[in-house]
Every structure is written in C-alpha cells, then in structure tokens.
C-alpha cells in the first residue's frame, strides 16, 4: 500500500488465532463443552478451581492438537509440557491458566495461502507454534443496571483452545483474510474445530505495524495488537483502519517502534474504528512455571504417523482432485470444498451416481446449497440421499426430464419420501409418445404458418416460441424433443 510518493509503505501483520477444539469434554475434566447451556451448569470442582481438585488431561484434545499441527505443517516435538500462566481475574477461578510456555505441542509450521491477486504467487506464511491451553470463563458486566453488576459464567472455563501463532509474514488485510480462510477450512475440514467466530470457537488477534522507507531510512511504527474482531470481514476492516491510522499518526508524530511499546486496541464494528484498550503493554509478568499437577507428555513418532495416516485429503488436495475427477471448474470445486467433508462426499456420491460431474456441481452450487441454507439443514439432515439425487440428474442428462421438470421433482422429493420414481409418478410426469408429440407439433405448426415461413427463411430460432406453447399444452413435453420434432415436420412439409 502506498500512501505518498516519497514514502514506500509495507504492512506487517502477524495473527494469533485461538481455535476451540471439538472435544466432547473439557481439557482437564469431564464437563461438557456444549455451547449455550444455562450459566454455570457445565462445571465441576476441577474447572471451578476448588481446593484439592486436580486436572487430568483429555487425550482427545492431544490428538486433535496433533491433527491440527499436521494440517498446518507443524513439527510435533517428542515432548510437551504444561505451564501455569498466572494472573488474577474473576473468570479464571484458579488464579492461573494451564497453558504451554516453552514446549508447545506443535512447533514451527507454515500455511500456503492462495494468491490474492493474479499477479501474486501463492504465499507461504510461517507459523511459529501452536499451543494448547484451557479457556477462561465469561464475565458479563451489566453496566446498565447502574450498579456495575458483574456475573460470571464458568461453563466455558476449561474448554480446550489451540492458539496458533503466525510469523509477521502477512502483508495486507486481504492476505490476513486469505490466511484465516485457509486455516478455518483446514480446521473444519479435518474435524478439529467448528471455527464459529460468533460462538467464540475461533478468535483472532492481529498484530499490526508499518515498515516505512522515508528519506532513505527504514522505519517501523509501534506495534498494535487489535482485539475484539468478531468476523473475518471485521479483521480486514480493522487492519485497513489501523494501517491508515498508524500512517497518519506517524506523519503527525514521527513515533517509531523504538519510542513506544506495544499497545492494545479494540475493534468497534459499529463505528468502524479501533479504540485504545491498554496504553502501554504493562510488561505483564505471568510467572510461568511448569504445572506440578500434570506430567509432561511424550509423543512418539509412531503416534504422530498414526494420526497423520488418519488425516486423509487436505482441502487443497480435494480441490485438485474434484477438478480432475469430476471435470468441474476451480471456482465450483472451491465452493464445494468450503462446505466441508460431508458436503464433499455427498457431492461425489451424486456426481458418481449420475456420471455427470458438471451437472452435479451446478445442482449443488444452486439447488442443494440453497435448500440447505433456507431450511438450515446439515448434510446428514438432507431429505434426498445421494443415490436418488444422482438418479434424478441422470434423467436430466439422458433427456428424460428437462431442468424445470427436474426441479419440480426435486422439490417434491424434498417434502415427500425422497424417491425419484414415486415423485415422477405422483407428479403425473409421463414420457410423451412420438405420435402424441407429432400431433401436438403438427397442430402448432398449422396454427402458426408465419413461423414456418420464418424458419424456412433461415430464422432457426423462430421455433423457440412454439416450444413454450407446446409445454403449455402438455407440461410433460420435453423441449429438446419438441424442437427436433418441429424441425423434422417443417422439413417434411
């Protein structure tokens, strides 16, 4: 981004992403991780931090963390351990968070993000580490009551979070968005996390500053950490806003990274601005030390290999394969892959059953997705199974049904038993015999001599208007067959 001619500006962004792992139970106790329960109903002495209670690691969280690490090309060190991060806050009942300090479960990795524009190459974004930690509870401050009434819900306390920290390798808000898209895609695709920002199962903090070249000198502006962003779009906007703000501030004050320590700013979606949260990053001393209640965990190469073997295809590989195998466009393949693994296999089942990837793709992009969105359905709830949908599309490909008739059948199947044949029967769709079709066409031609004339004079599209009329007279008439019959009759007249 260039602000003025004499200064070249480079935006430097690093992201810290928390993803909530999709475990049934919390990281160190057996309480449910389900979202949205009544406050303080998913708690026990362990996650309440009661005296004498002790944590026990959830093995599934370890497995998902390794899975996540492998998905973003991290190395998995042979040993990982637990450390206490200490600070006081009412939603942190032990007075410390069990986290990982110097030996995270996932070490160095990277994520390739697709080129943002056509001129850019695919970019490799470095990942410093990913560590596992327990979430805190939620504080709700009711300032409206005028009494600063604060309530604490500890349901979330102890749910497993994987914090994925990138290098400051991102150069624009678009790249940040692309990185998040790719990360989310992998995490959801591999069943690691739901990544629902609205439910807090994915949270993003962005560290942003600018590198400027002014009068031949290299200058960096002070680093700002942006918090409170509740959508990827908000992340983009917040970064863009911050880039402009920092540039203006630098022009105004000339302050550089050496002169001001890191500050924390919150993003306000309604004003579209960031606001100051913490003036100077008080060099918070968390007094990390190894948690004596938990043993270090050894992770063998065999275990890592086992988990790697269960990863299956990564989204990028699926994307490639769908294009090759089902001959669909990159964009269409992307739409399908973005919907997750269940959707992909549903698509593939249909594509195989109808033996027409392109047709299946177009139906999935439109009819299937629209139905799922409108009716809030998951793939497993979809009323039509892959075989039947495949059968329906096969009938379209073979010309037995035209698209509009097929849509009628599809709608009928959605609300009834999902069977193609019974739907066709119920709708009274019968194939129209040759004699019947010829009779119909003969009538139409006789009552429209002008069209016959036009056709003979080379206006081949003239018969088009008769196809509409034919369908009105007999909805079962296949437009393709009508056209062919009309032309045949004109030529023999």
């Amino acid at each position: 981004m260039t602000h003025s001619d004499e200064h070249s500006t480079e935006t430097i962004i690093g992201l810290e992403v928390h993803v909530q792992l999709k475990t049934e139970t919390k990281l160190f106790c057996g309480c449910s991780t389900a979202f949205g329960g009544p406050p303080n109903t998913q708690v026990c002495p362990v996650c309440l931090g009661h005296p004498g209670a002790l944590p026990v690691i959830n093995a599934h969280a370890i497995e998902l963390s390794i899975r996540a690490g492998l998905a973003i090309n991290c190395s998995i060190p042979p040993m990982t351990k637990w450390d206490r991060k200490q600070y006081f806050y009412p939603d942190l009942p032990k007075g410390y968070q069990i986290s990982q300090f110097d030996l995270p479960i996932c070490a160095e990795g990277h994520l390739e993000i697709p080129a943002v524009s056509e001129d850019d190459p695919t970019r490799r974004i470095g990942i410093i580490r990913a560590h596992l930690e327990e979430d805190a509870g939620k504080s709700m401050h009711d300032e409206a009551s005028g009494q600063c009434d604060s309530r604490i819900d500890l349901n979330r306390c102890g749910t497993p979070l994987l914090e994925i920290v990138s290098y400051p390798d991102l150069r624009s808000s678009h790249e940040a968005k692309a990185y998040l898209d790719e990360l989310k895609l992998r995490m959801t695709h591999l069943g690691i996390s739901d990544c629902e920002m609205q439910e807090g199962s994915l949270r993003v903090d962005a560290n942003v500053n600018l590198h400027l070249k002014a009068n031949g000198k290299k200058i960096a502006t002070p680093i700002v950490e942006i918090k409170n962003m509740n959508s990827f779009r908000a992340v983009e906007h917040a970064i863009d806003y911050e880039v402009d703000r920092q540039y203006d501030l630098w022009e105004e004050t000339g302050k550089t990274i050496e002169e001001e320590s890191k500050t924390t700013r919150g993003w306000d979606d309604t004003t579209g601005k960031t606001f100051l949260q913490r003036e100077k990053e008080e060099s918070a001393d968390y007094r990390y030390f190894p948690d004596p209640d938990l043993l270090p965990i050894r992770i063998s190469q065999e275990r890592v290999d086992e988990i790697r073997a269960t990863l299956g295809e990564l989204p990028g590989e699926t994307l490639e394969r769908l294009q090759q195998q089902h001959r669909i466009k990159a964009y269409d393949a992307e739409v399908i892959v973005n919907q997750g693994r269940e959707f992909i296999s549903f698509f593939e089942e249909v594509a195989t059953a109808c033996d027409d990837g392109k047709r299946a793709s177009s139906w999935f992009q439109q009819d299937v997705l629209r139905t799922m969105n409108d009716q809030q359905l998951s793939v497993s709830q979809f009323p039509i199974n892959g075989q039947q949908l495949g059968l329906l599309l096969r009938k379209v490909s073979s010309g037995e049904l035209d698209n509009s008739r097929a849509r009628d059948v599809f709608q009928f199947m959605l609300t009834n038993d999902g069977e193609v044949d019974s739907a066709i029967q119920s709708l009274g769709i019968a194939s129209v015999g040759t004699d019947e079709l010829e009779g119909l066409c003969q009538n139409l031609l006789e009552s429209n001599p002008q069209i016959v004339e036009d056709y003979r004079n080379g206006k081949q599209q003239a018969v088009g208007s008769l196809i509409g009329q034919a369908k009105k007279k007999n909805p079962n008439a296949n437009p393709k067959a009508v056209r062919e019959t009309l032309i045949k009759l004109i030529q023999t007249m």
Partner: protein
C-alpha cells in the same frame, strides 16, 4: 484401647465392645482433652455415632465389613470432606464446605472407618508448630507448654492424647514426621504418587503427600494399605499396585539388610545430644537384629532446606491464588477508602480479602514464592532450585546404590516451647532440616519413637527408603518396635 486400631478391631470381633461404644469413648476423650490440647478444628460426634451404628448393624447382620470397621479416625483439616468444613486452619476457608470427599477420605469410608473429626494444623500446612493456625495453637500432650510440631500438629496430638488410634496428616517438608517425633508417635510419608492427592488442598503440589500417624508401625501399615493405590483423578498418582504392608511386619530378623547411618546429620550443629544418642542406639538395635550398619553421606544436604524454601513457596504462591474472594471462601465485607480509590473495586476486593483471610506466615510464603517466580528472578531462584533438586535426587540415588535404608534423626531438637520460634522464621524452618530431603527426592520416610530426653520429651528417629520401598520401612520399623518399647510410652494424664 484408643491407642490401637488392631485392638479396637479385635474387641469388636470378639463382641467385647461395639463400634458405638468405641466411638462414644473416642468422643468423650476428645471432649476431655480439647480445651487443653486443641487438636481438633471440628468434631463430628453425631454423624460419627450414626456411622458407628451402621457398622454395628452390618456386623450383626453378617454383612462384609471394611478393614477399619468401627475404628475412629481423625483427618487433617486439609483433606476435603463433605460432612465437615475443610478450613486448612485458615480464616480464608473458615466455613468452606467441600463438594466432594478427598480420595483418601473416601477410601477410609469404604473401609468403614469412622471419621470423628478434623485436626488442627499450621495454616495451609505452612509452619512447623501448629502455631500459625487461625483457630488457636495445638499443645503437645507430653508438655502443654510446648508445640506438638507441625504442620500436622493436630494429627499427631490427637493420637498422642488418646482420642483416636489413627489419623491422616500431610507431609510437604516433614509435616507428618516432625510432629510424630515431637509427640512420640509413628508417622509415615509415603512415596510421592503412592497416595492420591485428589482432595488434599494443595500447598506445594510436587512435594505434598498424605500419610498416616499412629502409635505403632503395625497400625501405620494398616492405614497406609487403605489409602494407597493408583487413582486416575491425580495425574501424579503412580499406576503401580502397592504391596500389602501389613503382611511385611517383622519380629527381629533384619539379616541381609544394609542400613546407612547419616553421619553428617548426627554431627550437625545444634542437634540435641539425646537425639544423637538415640540414633546411635537405634543403629545398635538394628545391628542386633542382624542388619549391617555403614556410615553414609548425602553430599548436598546443606542445600536441602534452602532448595525447599524456594520450591515450596513458589508452588504455594500459585496454588493459593485461587483464594481471591470471588468464588468461595473469605470475601472482605468492607472494601472502601483509599484502597478502593487506588485499585478499583476488583483489585481492592482481592487485596482486602486476601489480606484479611491469610495469616502472616502464609503471606510471607506467597511473597517469597511470587518473588522467586518473577521475571528476572526465576532463573536465580526457582529454576536454580529445580537444578539443585536434581542433585538432591542423585544424592539419594547414590546412597541407595550402597544401602537399603538411611537412618538418622527426624528432627534436630525435641518439641520446643510455644512461641519460641514464631517470630523467627529462619529458626522455624530449621525444624525441617532432616525431613525435606525425602520430599524433594519423592521417597518414603518414617519417623519412629525412640525414647524420651531428660525432660521427658519424645525423640524421633527417621528411616528413609528408595521410592516405592515403603515395605522396607515397615519391615525395619516393625522390627525396631518389636525390640524396643518406645512406641508404648504414653504421656501422663491421658487414658487410652
């Protein structure tokens, strides 16, 4: 009869006494001694009698009975119980009711033991004299002007004053063995991980261990058998089947056993001559039983106490963070004035609640630990202490490559007068001189009564064994008690 679990079990089996009679007797004895000794923070008379009735009914109807059926037991007030408050002798948890039983408490109940009460202790187990309790000092049954030791002072005094034959204490740096020595009873600190810590309120998690106190090694063995064993809710619990200690009791044959006598400890400055002599005499006794006695050193022993007083407060400063007044425990009712103005309501509430809820010694250790873990100091203190701890472990490894057991004094002195060391923390910390090593190395150790000094105060000797070798302690300890009568000495003025 209240000084022997095996005698109580025999009396019930033969029909000479019912569980209810025994428990009533125990409660009478508590009532008679409590004013003078103050061993208890809570007595559960009604419930205890009801539980005893249940045992009697079970016995009459021929139902199976647990190993400790009808035996009155007291537990240190640091172990969570659902039917009595768990206070840690702190104002911070004055009325705190735990929502669950500690694993060791559950195991006691499963064996039909009767919990008669919770015993007094130094606040959050920090101290060596039970004087830092928020609920008054406990007095030594042998001399009421002296301390029973600590931090499990109540746990030792409740046995030594004849209220119960068995009690559970906890030992972080000597908190079972030192009061056992001061009160003339037997106390065992098991191997770290042998007994579940679930429900033991944490002081220093890497050092804490629950253990038994009783007059005899025999009773200590029975109680250890009940509380030991793997439990998945404690990640540091050892997944190893513990041996049955009650079956390794010995009479007087210790042939083949090699015992190292800790010469440096015997010659250390400030050790009471009578204690030194008791250790030498004990060595002679073991020799008579056929054991081989050799001299042995723990080369880094001068660093044990300093190392302990960095690691234990560091962990404590973290473990005690949860007492912030927000969720349970003491919350200051009056947060106002300058504090409120300068800190705001949240930090002021933390500050006031913790200032009011914790006593001086606890605050001192939180401060020490916070400092030792702080950025810029952790390498000098906490991390350095961890390195020394590894050296300490290798001290013991080297010693145990030469001998089967280590013999030495439990404490440098016998019970000191109340108030003598309260204002001198460094003097107080020296009571742990010979005991912290076992905690830092994670090994088991036992204190055995070894006679009285010229003032009539009990002396304790200590045996230490390699990790998981509690059976060696029981083996040698029971032989010692078969050959001596020190564990049969009782203070005056108590009926047993």
């Amino acid at each position: 009869m209240l000084d022997s679990a095996s005698e109580i079990l025999r009396l019930q089996a033969s029909g000479e006494a019912s569980a209810v009679e025994i428990i009533k007797r125990s409660i009478e004895q508590i009532e008679a001694s409590q004013d003078k000794i103050n061993a208890y923070t809570c007595v559960n008379a009604e419930l205890a009698i009801r539980d005893a009735e249940t045992v009697d009914v079970k016995r009459k109807s021929g139902q199976p009975l647990g190993k400790l059926a009808g035996v009155p037991v007291a537990v240190k007030d640091i172990l969570c119980t659902t039917d009595m408050p768990t206070t840690c002798s702190s104002k911070m948890l004055e009325n705190f009711m735990a929502p669950y039983d500690a694993t060791v408490v559950r195991r006691l109940r499963e064996e039909d033991a009767i919990l008669v009460g919770k015993t007094n202790m130094d606040e959050f187990a920090m101290g060596g004299s039970t004087e830092t309790s928020a609920f008054g000092v406990t007095r030594n049954p042998w001399d009421n002007n002296r301390t029973p030791g600590g931090s499990s002072g109540g746990a030792a005094a409740c046995v030594a004053s004849g209220t119960v034959p068995l009690s559970l204490g906890s030992d972080t740096g000597g908190s079972i063995r030192q009061p056992a020595a001061f009160c003339g009873v037997t106390g065992l600190k098991p191997t770290y991980g042998r007994v579940s810590r679930y429900g033991l309120v944490a002081f220093a998690s890497s050092l804490d261990q629950v253990g038994p106190i009783a007059w005899s090694v025999e009773d200590v063995a029975v109680l250890t058998d009940v509380i030991s064993g793997f439990e998945p809710r404690d990640s540091t619990s050892l997944n190893q089947e513990p041996p049955c200690l009650s079956s390794v009791l010995q009479s007087n044959d210790l042939r083949g056993l090699k015992i190292g006598i800790l010469e440096d400890a015997l010659n250390s400055e400030g050790i009471e001559p009578s204690i030194r002599q008791s250790v030498i005499d004990a060595a002679e006794t073991f020799k008579q039983a056929g054991a081989e006695i050799v001299e042995i050193q723990l080369p880094h022993s001068e660093h044990y106490v300093p190392t302990y007083y960095v690691i234990a407060p560091s962990e404590a400063s973290s473990n005690l963070s949860r007492y912030d007044g927000a969720h349970y425990g003491h919350r200051s009712a009056k947060v106002d004035g300058d504090l409120l103005a300068s800190l705001g309501p949240l930090a002021a509430t933390y500050c006031k609640s913790r200032s009011e809820g914790f006593g001086t010694e606890v605050k001192r250790r939180i401060m020490i630990g916070t400092y030792a873990l702080s950025e810029g100091y952790a390498d000098q203190y906490y991390n350095q202490a961890l390195k020394v701890r590894r050296l300490i472990k290798s001290d013991y490894d080297a010693a145990f490559s030469q001998v089967d057991l280590l013999l030495g004094p439990t404490t440098p002195t016998t019970a000191f007068p109340l108030g003598e060391r309260l204002d001198n923390p460094l003097q107080m910390y020296l009571v742990d001189l010979f005991t912290v090593g076992a905690n830092l190395a994670g090994i088991p150790a036992i204190s055995l009564p070894a006679g009285l000094n010229s003032s009539g105060l009990p002396i304790g000797i200590q045996l230490q064994a390699p990790a998981l070798q509690e059976s060696r302690l029981i083996f040698a300890g029971s032989a010692y008690q078969a050959m001596t009568d020190f564990h049969k000495l009782r203070p005056d003025n108590f009926s047993f």
